[in-house]
Symmetry: C2
Amino acid sequence: MATNGTNGTNGINGHTNRFDPHFTKHVIDLIGPETAPRHKEILSSLISHLHDFIREVELTQDEWVVGVNYVNSIGQAYRKNRNEAWRICDVLGVESLVDEINHKIVTEQGISPTSSAILGPFWSPDTPFRDLGASVVQDMPPDGQLTYFHGMIKDVETKKGIPNAVFDMWQASTNGKYDSFDPENQSKHNLRGKFKTDENGRFNFYCLKPTEYAIDTSGPSGDLLKLMGRHPNRPAHIHMMVTHPDYIGVTAQLYPNDDPWLETDTVCAVKDDLLLNFTPVENEPKDAVLDCEYDVSLLSKRYKPDSTMLMGNAAGEKL
Amino acid sequence: MATNGTNGTNGINGHTNRFDPHFTKHVIDLIGPETAPRHKEILSSLISHLHDFIREVELTQDEWVVGVNYVNSIGQAYRKNRNEAWRICDVLGVESLVDEINHKIVTEQGISPTSSAILGPFWSPDTPFRDLGASVVQDMPPDGQLTYFHGMIKDVETKKGIPNAVFDMWQASTNGKYDSFDPENQSKHNLRGKFKTDENGRFNFYCLKPTEYAIDTSGPSGDLLKLMGRHPNRPAHIHMMVTHPDYIGVTAQLYPNDDPWLETDTVCAVKDDLLLNFTPVENEPKDAVLDCEYDVSLLSKRYKPDSTMLMGNAAGEKL
């Protein structure tokens, strides 16, 4: 892996283990006895992997200085609605990985309910309940495609519908903005709604076919994307948070299966069971032009009685 | 290693490999074909180790948010003379590790010249040459201990002295400050000097016995030290940069062997061959109260013709 100039030149540094084998342990052992065990565990692992990374690539002095300056630039670029550390985590797949670690469920029988995906910062605790069959489209954009969205929330083991489960959904309008960040075009609660399933576990409502948008690339996270040769686009998505007192909730994003950015999502949050199929319809009662059916599977809380939902985050920006 | 609440509870997540085994590769594979090979190598290793760290400790959502906020705080705390990203690297041993990777030399015969240690930001390109036997102490602090410092710069293979080698030294005064950062107490070039070895490779001059100081703990690097249960003290040290046209130069810090902070240096920059022994003397010609002898070993440049010295850095603060 060595690519810098200190190796193999005229017979110096021929010893492959020329680096002090005790150095990383020395740094970890500096952690004092009063540090909480969990902090010690995290810091020890962090130091170990950080050193391994540096040794693996044999980081040069100049490269290290570039890294120091980059880390400083992250906080310097921090603004309201521009949390660069958060965005960089997303670009590097960190938020999705943390989401998976904390929310992925596989039973001993190998059964998994619907996958979770990152919440993002636009969930609202104030979203109103709407009647089944209602529309969340309060302000129809000219380029919006009205969609009849329906499905069932079911028990992943029994496959039976779960009555009185809540399907809480939110989505951006066709301009890529959510209601509260777009007051000139959208009224409060536009493209948001909570729906309670019927006695068969079924729900249905009208929404827009979601549209993709690019994330802001003006900060260090944008520089990282460019360095990696990546585009800034997120696939279109509808957010959902599904809850029921007796079931482990799931928060996810649902993506049209024909979206061009599924494989290369900027924030790496696409999973195979979160894809939506939109089909054209004609003469629909409310003039919807598309139909989309999606079922959600939940696992009983008896598997995890202490289950809690992540009910918000600190990013304050669109993901 | 799992300590969060998602494991082994009532039989869920019993599958040890429940995390997507392809996820890290997926993120790495997003790197485009136009990214420079070295950038790709560094980013791939960084992503791989970052993900391994997160999986190893099973980072919780809350812990991750703490990390995001901490990373943002680093750049937000950046000030002139307070480069927090740099300091955090020092606390985590990163600068010392990078120094070792870039400067440690072991010949195929297993011979090593004098070790290097981090340069720090206080080297000056303007330091004057002084005659052998001169004093660098222009402004004697009341609590200073004048020291006669002498030694030989020799070829690590032949053990012979190297004439006309340059021993460039600098040190803080007893208040922990370097000349240019302490204009009210120190004149320009105080406690700095360049000395050229004589025909036997010998050098000698007068300086102060160095005194330890604590690094500033007002920023995120100080918070990290506290979290790790560590003190902020650096062992006392004299900086040296030794050069000769025909030899690979060495930059290092030299520490009194009785310093209480050698084992727990905040920046992890102490090495066994960089220790100084100070012995009391009486009736010394210039009234020095201590004597210190230290020899430096250099390796011929024919082992590494492209050798360059790091001639400055961007930290702008005391290390």
